[in-house]
């Protein structure tokens, strides 16, 4: 355990140092990323105002809160993508990772966790600016704050597992972009990324409950802005943990099969 803590801390340190080499690039990346929620925020706030100040129980201020928190959750959701796996295999980088006496997944989790530290620091002034412009209505309790803290890190782990699973397909195909696009489309609808899930038809909400997307995106936001009862908050965290465990099990099974297929094409 001590060894893994040392590895995680060292890798996170390396990641933070790397990201600080390019602060401006990181900032432009984050500014580009908030364009999407700002569009959603403006559209839904306008609709709410035209419908007497509320849509599906959301006021413009609550929409603002939802989408400002969205920006942080989205940043936490950035993980090593299947495109990364394609690159990693094609360029021979996976071979170098495989030579180390540690599963490459630990490296990915730790590296991107380090990046999150930089992202959160860069996010704070952006969130402040968005707050001044859009005036969100956000009054979280201490419990909601604590649940949110864990929920965003659990969301990060769920998305890491799901995208790693898609990434592992590259061991068979070396091209995985089509599958990733399919995943992305499902995620857009079933996660709460496009609109809060509570605005979706009842059947989509029920459907979304059984997939990981909601637990990796919508739930962390709702835990902070949705005034959820305590039992729903705890069920949400439980579902997140369950998906992480399922993800780890599947990644391990597929990894053992995939590694036998590895042809080290890129070197």
């Amino acid at each position: 355990m001590k060894r893994y803590i040392d590895i995680y801390l060292s890798m996170m340190k390396l990641s933070i140092l790397e990201q600080w080499q390019y602060p401006l690039a990181n900032y432009f990346y984050m500014i580009g990323m908030i364009a999407e929620p700002v569009i959603y925020m403006v559209v839904w706030s306008t609709v709410a105002m035209q419908q007497g100040g509320m849509v599906g129980g959301y006021t413009p201020g609550e929409f603002a809160a939802y989408y400002i928190v969205w920006t942080l959750v989205r940043s936490m959701n950035v993980v090593f993508t299947p495109y990364g796996w394609e690159w990693r295999i094609r360029e021979g980088q996976l071979s170098m990772s495989l030579m180390r006496p540690i599963h490459p997944l630990h490296g990915d989790v730790a590296f991107f966790a380090g990046w999150k530290v930089v992202v959160i620091v860069l996010w704070l002034p952006l969130a402040f600016a968005l707050t001044l412009i859009f005036k969100p209505e956000l009054n979280p309790t201490l419990l909601e704050g604590i649940v949110f803290f864990f929920a965003i890190w659990f969301a990060y782990l769920i998305r890491t597992m799901t995208l790693t699973l898609i990434g592992l397909v590259t061991f068979w195909t070396t091209r995985v972009s089509a599958l990733f696009e399919l995943y992305f489309a499902a995620e857009l609808i079933l996660s709460g990324r496009l609109v809060p899930l509570s605005l979706m038809p009842e059947w989509i909400q029920s459907f979304a409950w059984f997939f990981p997307f909601r637990w990796a995106f919508g739930f962390p936001i709702e835990s902070l802005v949705g005034n959820m009862p305590v039992n729903e908050l705890l069920i949400g965290l439980g579902m997140q943990i369950a998906w992480i465990i399922v993800g780890i099990i599947f990644v391990n099974i597929i990894w053992k099969i995939a590694i036998r297929k590895f042809s080290a094409v890129g070197g």
């Binding site: 040392d6 590895i7 060292s10 340190k13 390396l14 790397e18 021979g92 495989l98």
Partner: protein, 328 residues
Amino acid sequence: MTSAISLQKLAKHYQVPEREAGLKAAAKGLFKRQYKNVKAVDEISFDIQSGEVVGFLGPNGAGKTTTLKMLSGLLHPTSGTASVLDFEPARRSHDFLRQITLVMGNRNQLSWDLPALDSFDLQRAIYSIPTDEFKKTRDEFIEILELKDLVQKPIRNLSLGERMKMEIVGALLHKPKILFLDEPTLGLDVTMQKRIRTFVAEYNKRYGATVLLTSHYMADVEALCKRIIVIHHGKLLFDGNLSQLAEKFSAFKTIGFTLENPATDLSQFGEVVSTDGSRIVMRVPKEKTSAVTSRLLNDLAVDDLTVEAAPIEDVIESVFAVKKEAVE
């Protein structure tokens, strides 16, 4: 001495999709794909004793890197067995990976944007190297490779040779018992090549490590390896020392001499390879060397006559020129 590396009929075969060029063939390939079975490594066997430095030679596509990847656990063999330090590499046990390293001349594991010192610290954590031992080894390697002024610069600002030296330090910090070196001097200038060779030799001497080295630079092989293994089209072609290789594969020897009258017609003695003023180098069939030497001394006014085996580059070239059928 014990066997550090042992291969028994080790093979790696790939199924490679192939088709003719053009749209018609591409459309046909959608319904019926054709595959070709490529034998990248074809049942090779050899043993390497602990502490040996062995040159692993072969032309491009001979199967050298595939063999190294099987021995380092990156690839699963199609058949046969491999044993490295009594481990089965394909199982990739962490105890095994802690005792080996694979350095590829065209691959890097150090962070591009940061000084090497930061990446070295990650190696310390990954290999659980005690801090004192880590610092001692790191500083020792930095000193031997003369990297003191460079370790605080981002890797991206270093030259190719400097980067390679850093990669080697990073790859050896955990003091592996087995070194798989795949073209470690690729693209480096002569001075840098020499420095890396010296370092590998020093590491082998100091830690008794076993080294399996591939290189297209014969100077690397001559300087480091007493024994060489030649592989071609996936098959083992030769396993022995360098002089034996020349004996087996070189059909010629070179005779060098100084001639009073360089204009003399020498075609009856052999093939003139080069003329530099009065100094002449000839190539003659190995079995005729004694006879030609006697005739030169008897018939012509020659001086400073030397007889040498063909340069190792020429020998290797003649080995690689062996047709595929000849090794099947």
